[in-house]
Structures are given as C-alpha cells and as structure tokens.
C-alpha cells in the first residue's frame, strides 16, 4: 500500500495511467494490437526515439536544446555505411570513428553555446541543415547498401527473439533514468536548468556540464545512426528525418519544461510510447499514414494544454529560449 502511495506521487504516474488506459482501449479496438508481431514492430519503431530521448531529456533539463539530432542520425548513418563499404574498415573501428564524429559535433555545439554565447536553438537549427546537407554531399545523394552481416547484426540480431535495438532502448532507459535521478554529476542539470546564475554562484561548473550534455546527445545520435543503418541494411539520405521533433515532443509530453529544471527519462519514454501507441492504433483501424504528422502535433497540444490547465508546472515564456 505504501509503495502505491509513493508511486502515485511520482510525476510520471499520470502519464503512466494514460498509457494503461490507451493499452486497454486498444486491445478492445483491434484484435491485432496485442499480437507479438505488432508489439515487436511497435517497440522497434520506439527504440531509436527512446535512445535519443535519454540524451534529449538530460539536455532539456539543463535548459538546452538540440534540433539537429535527426540530421546527425542521417549523417552518421551514411558515414558508418561508407566506412564499412568503401573504406573496408573492420566494424569495431567503424563504430569508434562514427561515435567520434558524434563527439566532434557535440563539442562544436557545446562550445558555440557556452563560449561564443549563441542560442542553442539557433546553433542546432543551423546544424540540422548543415548535417543533412553533408549527408547528401558525402555520397552524392545515393544510398549505401549491402554492408555485410557483421555490421547488419548490430541492428538485426535477435536476442531471445527480440531485435537488438529494443534491447539497447531498454538498457538506455534503465541506466539513463537511474543516473539522472541519483548521479551527482547529472543531477547538476536540475540546478543549472532551474537557475543558471545561482548554479554558478554556488560553484557548479556550468559550462563543463553543458558541453558534456551536447556531446552526450550527439554521441547517442551517432550510435542511433549506426543502429538504424544496420537494422535497415542500408543508409539513405533521409535517415532520421523528422526525428528531432518527435523526440522533443516526447520529452515535453513526459513532463519536462521548455525552460529547464524538470524532466525524467522515464517520462520521456512514456511520452514516446503514447505517441507511438496512438499512431499504431489509428493505423490498425485503417487511418491513412499521412495523418501521422497531424496526430503528433495534436497529441502534443493536448498533453501540454492538459498540463497547463492542471497547473502542474509554470511554463516560462517560450520566447526566452528563442531570443536569449
């Protein structure tokens, strides 16, 4: 009983209830919903969003932002594919080099924001176009396929009947949630996001933490780029397109504030889950796939309005993040 009490006080409980309700409704709405194939496909679709969501949650808690993740996934996808196919490098080397690209991109973002003083929204918005452009340039817009079994297994291998991306997502959620809640270094993000000036006054090394946040999310995006390419068996120039908006939406549905200081990995996962579930059920009952974007926007609006109306948190001016 006491456990239930503690559980219900957690922020994520409300979101979790929504998920349960959706699940129950959906199992009545369509006989295919609960099938193993559907569940597996669902979780697979969820896996990349979830993994990046961990990095995005940490970044947004600190008050930061990264609009370029989708493009980084695309770029690192092509780079890893080219390293395997054209450069003929062994897979471990490919993984290392691709992750290093992620480090470089993240470092670039972090330095622009902390040392040059540019707004994160602007830097990563530029990045979104920059990296997508590079993705096209690097292989003339052509896709890269037939990457060999070893590479493909990163994304396609089935462990206990479940494909690897899902296992990666599970690990990321568990480790990410626990660390953000309990780890001293990562907890600093809550202070930085809540009151950056006060955080500095109290001795928190704000710049260092912010830069590490940007590096983390870009490395995770690079990892996602590798995994996604491996799963598809090919890298295309559209890899990751639209991903950033889905992930940011999930983080906000999950309870984070745009201005920082609040958020949880578990909440972000539940946010992703809700989006994917609703889209899944509507697909199953026959709604055209074109409705997806519309639905994502609608769900976001609904979730945020609900939140504001229940006065769970005070959303500070969005303009603040755009005009800093």
């Amino acid at each position: 009983m006491k456990f239930l009490k503690i559980l219900s006080r957690q922020r994520e409980f409300g979101t979790f209830l929504v998920v349960v309700v959706i699940f129950i409704t959906m199992s009545f709405a369509s006989p295919y919903f609960m099938s193993k194939t559907n569940m597996h496909a669902l979780l697979l679709a969820l896996s990349i969003q979830t993994v990046i969501g961990v990095g995005m949650t940490i970044l947004m808690v600190s008050g930061g932002f990264d609009l370029s993740v989708g493009s980084v996934v695309g770029l690192t996808g092509i780079i890893s594919a080219l390293l395997v196919k054209k450069a003929g490098l062994p897979v471990p080397a490919v993984i290392l080099l691709t992750l290093l690209v992620g480090v470089g991109i993240g470092l670039f973002h972090g330095l622009m924001v902390t040392k040059v003083g540019l707004n994160a929204f602007i830097v990563t918005l530029a990045g979104l176009s920059l990296y997508r452009g590079l993705t096209l340039i690097v292989n003339d817009g052509k896709q890269v396929a037939q990457l060999g079994d070893i590479f493909d297994n990163i994304g396609q291998f089935k462990l206990l009947g479940i494909q690897m991306p899902i296992w990666y997502a599970i690990i990321f959620i568990i480790v990410g949630d626990i660390l953000l809640r309990r780890n001293k270094y990562l907890r600093q993000n809550f202070f930085i996001g809540g009151n950056e000036t006060a955080a500095r006054l109290l001795g928190i090394q704000v710049d260092k933490v912010l830069i590490s946040n940007y590096i983390l999310i870009s490395v995770i995006a690079a990892f996602a780029g590798i995994v996604w390419t491996a799963r598809m068996g090919a890298a295309t120039m559209y890899g990751g397109a639209g991903l950033e908006l889905k992930v940011i939406t999930a983080v906000i549905i999950g309870g984070a504030s745009l201005s920082g200081g609040e958020g949880s990995v578990l909440g972000t996962f539940l946010g992703s889950l809700i989006m994917v579930l609703i889209i899944n059920i509507l697909t199953l009952i026959g709604i055209k796939i074109y409705w997806q974007n519309f639905l994502i926007g609608a769900i976001l609006l609904f979730a945020v309005t609900l939140d504001v109306l229940t006065i769970k948190r005070r959303e500070r001016n969005i303009l603040k993040t755009m005009t800093q």
């Binding site: 626990i178 660390l179 309990r182 780890n183 001293k184 270094y185 907890r187 600093q188 809550f190 202070f191 996001g193 809540g194 009151n195 000036t197 006060a198 955080a199 006054l201 109290l202 001795g203 928190i204 504030s257 200081g261 609040e262 005070r314």
Partner: protein
C-alpha cells in the same frame, strides 16, 4: 565598547567605474555579535561595497581584514571560504526544487554505500541533516518536499538564510531582505534576522527601510555619494526613536528636514 572585536575591518575602500567614483575612501567595520545596517540613497555605494565584500567586484584601493587576518577576496569562492555569505535580492534559489535540494545545491553528499560506485548522492542523509538544521533554528517551514516556488516571500528568505547557516557561515550579508514583502511577511523576516543573530558572528543588512533597520540593527553606517557620512549607534538614542529616524534620514539625504511633529 571600543574593545569590541572587529570581525571585518575594511579601510580606505575606493572603487571607480570609469570616471564615476562609486566608493571614495570608505572605512567599514563589522563588530562581533552586531547587526549592522548599511543605508543610503540610490547610488550611494551600498551595493558596490557589498559586492566587494562578497567577491563579486575588486576594489581599486583599500585593504580588508577578516577575523583579524588580511584578506584578498577575489571571487565568491574566497568570500565563502572566509565564512561570508551574501544573500542577494533574488535569493539565488531554485524554484523548481524543494528545500533540501536548495540547501545542498552544488554541495550534495555522496552516497557512502554501494551507490558510491555510480556517483550516487545520499538523499536520505541530506534530508535528515536539513530537517535537523531547521529544528535547531526554530523556524516554521511547511512540508520539506514542497517546491520552493510555492513558498511565501518570507519563507523563501528563510530558506536562503538556513542555507547560509547550514554551511557554517559566520557573516551574513543581506541585500534588501524586506523589499517587496508585505507587512506581515516583513515582520517575520525581521524576527528571522533576530534569531539568526544567535547563530552567526555578524549580520550586515542593506535596506531603504529605516523603520525596519531601527527595529533590528544595533548600528547603522550611512553612505552618501560614495562617501561614509555617518555612524549611528542606536543605544545612544535610548527611546528617542523619532530623533534616531530623523538623524538617519538627514545623513542619507544631506539635508535639514522639518520636524513634522512640531
């Protein structure tokens, strides 16, 4: 009386901002056990002096001694290590977090058990220590798990003060603690300052509100146009509070004022 120990002794403090003289050879001393008011009109130099003591600004000229030792306060960290804590008007609190988290901001305890391997913090120990501290200061604060943004102005001041006391600070500087507070809340803060006096060596309060400073301070230093123009010890006035009030205002404005009671 003249044998009172000085815990802060600043001499000849001068600060220019370009061609503007913010402070002109100001001598400043804080005696052990006293609540010292620092008053003056806007632009008199109060904030500048306080920022020098808290390490936010460096003076152009002058020397400072803290607890009898020469001190070079180059940054907020130096001030912290000397035991000086400044509570600015915005309180440097984290609205999105609760009381315990605010107390331990930037200084969280590390877990002593298995969690240490993962860099975990020791939440239980922090909560225990924080609530012990409140009890020892006899302040009434609502649920410790509430977010600080839900607390009243007076309660928020309390959190800032308790944070300073928790980390063993010996001198607390408060910048306009009662500004923007209603009558009841301001009264609570003044009580809080009285209580805090028992736990520290000295308190400096900057304020525009002469009524308030007369209530809680032992002495007042008056600045005008960057110069020290007055040092008023309240004891000398006994019960003549109106006269005390008038004299302070005279020093602040530099003008003779009409006695409105005549």
């Amino acid at each position: 009386m003249s044998n009172d120990t000085c815990i802060i002794n600043a001499k000849n403090i001068t600060k220019y901002f370009g061609s503007v003289v913010a402070l002109d050879s100001v001598d400043f001393e804080l005696k052990d056990g006293e609540v010292l008011g620092l008053v003056g009109d806007n632009g008199a130099g109060k904030s500048t002096l306080i920022k020098i003591l808290s390490g936010a600004i460096l003076p152009n000229k002058g020397s400072i001694e803290v607890f009898g030792q020469p001190a070079h306060i180059k940054n907020p960290r130096d001030a912290f290590e000397l035991g000086i804590e400044t509570i600015y008007q915005d309180l440097a609190l984290f609205d999105n977090l609760n009381f315990t988290e605010n107390i331990f901001a930037g200084r969280e305890f590390s877990s002593r058990g298995a969690g240490r391997l993962f860099g975990f913090v020791d939440g239980k120990r922090m909560q225990r220590d924080a609530s012990k501290r409140i009890k020892s200061i006899s302040i009434n604060l609502p649920l410790l798990t509430q977010k600080v943004k839900q607390l009243s102005g007076g309660q928020r001041q309390a959190v800032s003060i308790i944070r300073a006391l928790f980390w063993g600070q010996k001198v607390i500087i408060m910048d306009e603690p009662t500004a923007a507070l209603g009558v009841r809340e301001a009264a609570k803060v003044l009580e809080l300052i009285e209580e805090t006096k028992k736990h520290v060596n000295g308190i400096i309060v900057i304020t525009h509100n002469i009524e308030h400073i007369i209530k809680i301070a032992d002495r007042v230093l008056v600045l005008r146009n960057g110069k020290r123009v007055g040092d008023v010890t309240f004891k000398d006035y006994g019960n003549r509070l109106d006269e005390l009030h008038n004299d302070i205002v005279k020093l602040i404005t530099g003008a003779e004022i009409i006695d409105y009671k005549a």
